[in-house]
């Protein structure tokens, strides 16, 4: 009854092939000529079509290398509606789907034992659910975004989902989104984690209606089982991937939740891929993917990584990870900015004593009155907006053959967020008071940390400020945040001897760097801008008097 499918002769001199991927799962109903798997030789890849219709029973697994002529799978009940499932591999699913037409006592018993698995959703009607299938499509998430990457499925294929329950996380080059279910029902995943899909494309289907349990619909049942072999390949332990892979031990679970790391982001080295306490201790949040940002800032995660990986003697592990789409976009943009602009950097230094004195004197009163701390950022933003209005080229940008000058100052601020650096924008910063700026910084930083920033909050800035100083940077040449034309880099404050009125004094000094696009900003403008910022910071009274 079962038809053995053998590896066909694919070419002279080819004696064996590797199974690159099963496109159908064990137990799936396959149609004649439907492609069931991809084979790979050292010369080419091939598709293997089904030689008959029936139920697929996989014999050789993904990654296996098998000789030409060997059995790769079998197709049961070739040409027939149903067949008796092999006793050793009966899973409740199969017995359920087949029990409609089979009087085999075994499957009947199995069906009775597993009532909550649901009533078979019979293709010819008469089943439980409404039978309606809703295609879930990627919604429009923002202008200029044409595709998104599925960063994580939060529900598995076949899961019962409730209306508005979050199904998966999507990632564009700008932000992450959650996709809620548009109806209650059984989830059928179409696109896999890591796939990049276009806006409007179907990402999954929902079989509407509760309790429709097992379906015989030919919707591809790729999800969980299909994803497992891939996990196995990456898991540290030699053992196989099982239901328990990725299970954190009780202590490991606590450590991970305190670190805010999902167990699914950790490779377990315990038996069958379990996550041990040591795994959890060594786990790091996913390497941050900074937004298009200064070199100083993007260097920071790298520095953190090398610090966190202790150079244990003799250990020479290296690790490969797929680049997230965010990271890829960042990489592409940074290179294009370097290639397509005439970027250079001018430096200056600021004596921070006056601002530090003001802060020391007024920070309590400021806090009491405005309920927000008085930081350096407000002074820098304020000074920049004054200087930008005096040197409009620094606040302008090139658009094709035209230059766009902006009468407003929308200042992008680099903020550390869980997924990397993001650059939310303070709108019309020129009109804000110091406390207004501080409040906006706090609000945006909070939203960034909670991953709640929307794309509209991160686009449209006219000038960027980045502070590599928080990571300890002394001096850097930031990269412009395109399409803007200039970026100010703040650095750490260090006590240095300086000459004040011909006396050597120790002052808290900060180097400032302004990277700018020489195509639109002349040296006179950029240098004058930076000198002006320095003046305003060293004598904040000027901010008040407007001089």
């Amino acid at each position: 009854m079962a038809l053995d499918v053998k590896v066909p002769v694919v070419g002279e001199s080819i004696t064996e092939v590797t199974i690159a991927k099963w496109l159908k799962q064990d137990g799936d109903q396959v149609a004649m000529d439907e492609v069931i798997c991809e084979l790979e030789s050292d010369k080419a890849t091939f598709e293997l079509p089904a030689e008959a219709a029936g139920i697929l029973r996989i014999k050789a697994q993904e990654g296996d290398t098998i000789a030409i002529g060997e059995v790769i799978c079998s197709i049961e009940g070739a040409g027939q509606g149903a067949s008796t499932p092999q006793p050793t591999t009966v899973s409740s699913q199969h017995s359920l789907t087949e029990s409609k037409s089979v009087t085999d006592p075994q499957s009947t018993v199995a069906a009775e034992n597993t009532p909550s698995q649901g009533i078979p959703n019979q293709p010819q009607g008469g089943g439980a659910g409404t039978g309606q299938t809703l295609d879930v499509k990627i919604p429009t998430v923002g202008e200029s975004i044409s595709e998104v990457t599925i960063s994580k499925w939060l529900k598995a294929d076949g899961d019962q989902v409730a209306m508005d329950e979050v199904l998966c996380e999507l990632e564009s080059d700008k932000a992450t989104f959650e996709l809620p279910a548009e109806a209650a029902g059984v989830l059928r995943i179409v696109a896999q984690e890591g796939d990049t899909v276009e806006i409007g494309a179907t990402i999954c289907r929902i079989e509407v209606g509760a309790g429709s349990g097992v379906s015989t619909s030919p919707a591809p049942q790729l999800s969980a089982p299909a994803a497992q072999p891939a996990q196995a390949a990456s898991s540290g332990y030699g053992g196989s991937t099982t239901y328990a892979s990725g299970t954190p031990s009780p202590a490991a679970g606590k450590i991970l939740s305190e670190k805010g790391i999902s167990a699914s982001d950790v490779n377990g080295t315990g038996r069958d891929g379990r996550i041990t306490k040591e795994d959890a201790q060594n786990a790091q949040a996913r390497p941050a993917a900074p937004a298009p940002q200064p070199a100083a800032a993007s260097a920071a995660p790298a520095a953190k990584e090398s610090a966190a990986a202790p150079a244990a003697p003799g250990v020479r592990n290296s690790r490969r990870e797929k680049m997230s789409s965010l990271r890829k976009t960042v990489a592409r943009r940074l290179v294009s900015v370097k290639n397509e602009t005439a970027m250079l950097t001018t430096f200056n230094e600021v004596d921070m004593k006056p601002i530090m004195d003001i802060r020391a004197k007024y920070k309590d009163k400021f806090k009491e009155k405005h309920e927000v701390g008085l930081g350096f950022m407000s002074f820098f933003v304020k000074a920049c907006t004054v200087a930008l209005q005096e040197w409009p080229a620094v606040n302008a940008q090139i658009d094709g053959a035209e230059m766009v000058f902006n009468d407003f100052c929308d200042i992008s601020i680099a903020v550390s967020a869980p997924k990397g650096l993001v650059v939310p924008v303070i709108r019309n910063a020129e009109g804000l008071s110091l406390d207004g700026i501080e409040k906006e910084v706090v609000r945006l930083a909070k939203r960034a940390r909670e991953n709640k920033l929307g794309i509209d909050e991160m686009t449209g800035g006219t000038f960027t400020i980045t502070n590599g100083g928080v990571f300890g940077s002394m001096m850097s040449t930031p990269i412009i945040n395109a399409p803007q034309s200039a970026i100010l880099g703040m650095h750490n404050i260090v006590n240095r001897p300086v000459a004040i009125n011909n006396q050597v004094e120790i002052r808290p000094m900060m180097y400032l760097a302004l990277s700018y696009d020489h195509r639109i900003i002349d040296g006179r403008e950029s240098v004058s801008f930076l000198v002006r910022v320095k003046e305003l910071l060293e004598d904040p009274m000027r901010l008040l008097l407007g001089i």
């Binding site: 099982t242 239901y243 328990a244 299970t247 009780p250 606590k254 939740s257 038996r271």
Partner: protein, 485 residues
């Protein structure tokens, strides 16, 4: 008395300034004192308030510990009377000295009381004796037994006031002939006929104590089984063994309608399943129909803490009440009334307060009955798996096939392992037999790591031990390939 007086002296000294704490724990049972120790370990300034003069709560003073003391004593006697001869030990004039048994039990309690007091001192937890009640969310009044009152202030509070036995309105406890577990731990004589109302853990354990010492024990139970929340196979086996070895009589489906004391006799009336009225004549009647959360005098209304169903304090997943900063743990909140559950919750709350993110897997808190044979279970019961429609396989191994059990003449009982039909993951372990209460720990460890039945089957278990039964049951569950049966 002298101790008491010096205590008052200390109080009057403290009274002058209001003490402020990061955390105050109300109740010093296993939930409360463990929470206090963990809070102190995490650097929080901690106080604990206990209504009674000794620390340890129900568990230590009138629960787990004293009952185990008497269970062990009575089991020794039972063995001496029934199995020593077979072992080749002959005794003349074997007698029960109940007074000494109760005295030893008291010493065990005292030693543990002192132990907890030491732990409080070691961890610099301030102990207040008296009834703690909220004046407001952050102020707690402590009223001593002599009526003196003092106040403390606290940032956060853990309510760990526990539970007390349920009384039935038609069955007034006189604490003399009609008694609760508390009195059953201090009887002056071995009952001739002890009528136990309720076939739960407490009734069976205390019934066992006196049955072993010679009492006739009748268990009157409203439902159709003993220990009905555990896997049904365990109750069946326990019922069989208690009948066989201790002469227990069970009356199921009986609805007790009243009890009357006439001199030294207690007459318990009940309705049979057929609706007929029957009377049980005994000399003592133990009412063990359950326990209820205890929140009397706590002044919850002053703090705004709301109660949930059945008098429990309503809490969220972090065991926080509706009032931020006030938490509740143990018997006073939802879940099984077990000391070890309360302990886990005490640690959890302390760590949450310290900003950590601990988690309790409530499904993996084992249930234990300290009869002999002991009964223990963890995870899903067979009944639950069937109700959920989970496809599972079961493997059992009886102790009568265990070499070690035969050597010690403890051949009653079995270990039953339930595993997922497809993945072989262990979903539940249920055992009745010698040292089952200790052996269940292996199952908890295995299930916390989501081990499969075959995983356990492939781990070496020392021979000859009772734990081999666990391994064999796992072998049976794996592919029905137990070796020794």
């Amino acid at each position: 008395m002298l101790l008491c007086k010096s205590g008052y002296g200390a109080f009057s000294h403290i009274k002058r300034k209001i003490m402020k704490y990061d955390v105050t724990v109300i109740g010093s049972g296993p939930g409360g004192y463990v929470a206090a120790v963990r809070c102190a370990q995490l650097g929080l300034k901690t106080a604990i308030i206990e209504k009674y003069s000794v620390l340890g709560g129900t568990c230590l003073n009138v629960g787990c510990i004293p009952s185990k003391a008497l269970l062990d004593s009575s089991e020794h006697f039972h063995n001496a009377a029934h199995t020593f001869k077979t072992h080749g030990i002959e005794l003349d004039n074997l007698q029960v000295n109940l007074e000494q048994m109760i005295k030893r039990k008291g010493e065990v309690i005292k030693s543990n009381n002192d132990g907890i007091a030491y732990l409080m001192k070691k961890n610099k937890v301030d102990v207040y004796n008296g009834l703690g009640s909220f004046l407001s969310k952050n102020t707690i009044k402590i009223t001593g037994q002599d009526g003196t009152a003092q106040q403390i202030e606290t940032d956060k509070t853990i309510i760990a006031t526990g539970s007390k036995p349920v009384n039935l309105p038609f069955l007034p406890v006189d604490k003399n002939r009609i008694i609760t577990s508390t009195e059953a731990l201090t009887l002056k004589e071995v009952p001739k006929h002890l009528i136990v109302i309720g076939g739960g853990v407490i009734g069976l354990e205390l019934g066992s104590v006196y049955a072993r010492l010679g009492a006739k024990v009748s268990v009157v139970e409203y439902t159709d089984a003993i220990i009905p929340t555990m896997d049904r196979a365990l109750g069946k086996e326990l019922q069989r063994v208690l009948k066989k070895t201790l002469g227990f009589q069970f009356f199921f489906g009986h609805k007790v309608t009243g009890a009357q004391v006439e001199g030294e006799t207690v007459k318990v009336t009940a309705e049979t399943p057929k609706g007929e009225t029957v009377t049980f004549d005994g000399d003592y009647c133990l009412v063990s129909v359950g326990r209820k959360p205890y929140t009397e005098g706590l002044g919850l209304e002053n703090a705004g803490v709301q109660l949930g169903e059945r008098g429990m304090i309503a809490v969220d997943d972090h065991l926080q009440t509706n009032v931020p900063g006030i938490y509740a743990i143990g018997d006073v909140v939802r879940g099984a009334m077990l000391a070890h559950k309360a302990e886990e919750e005490g640690v959890l709350v302390a760590e949450i307060m310290a900003g950590q993110k601990p988690h309790i897997n409530y499904n993996l808190i084992p249930g234990v009955v300290y009869t002999w044979p002991e009964v223990a279970g963890v995870g899903f019961t067979e009944e639950q798996l069937k109700a959920q429609g989970v496809a599972f396989k079961a493997g059992s191994f009886p102790f009568k096939a265990s070499g070690r059990a035969k050597a010690s003449m403890d051949t009653d009982g079995f270990v039953k392992v339930l595993a997922d039909a497809k993945t072989d993951e262990i979903l539940g372990v249920h055992m009745i037999g010698p040292r089952a209460a200790d052996m269940i720990a292996e199952a908890v460890v295995a299930m916390e790591f989501r081990a499969s039945a075959e995983d356990i089957a492939r781990m070496s278990h020392a021979h000859p031990t009772y734990t081999e039964a666990m391994k064999e049951a796992c072998l049976a569950a794996t592919e029905n390939r137990a070796i020794h049966i």
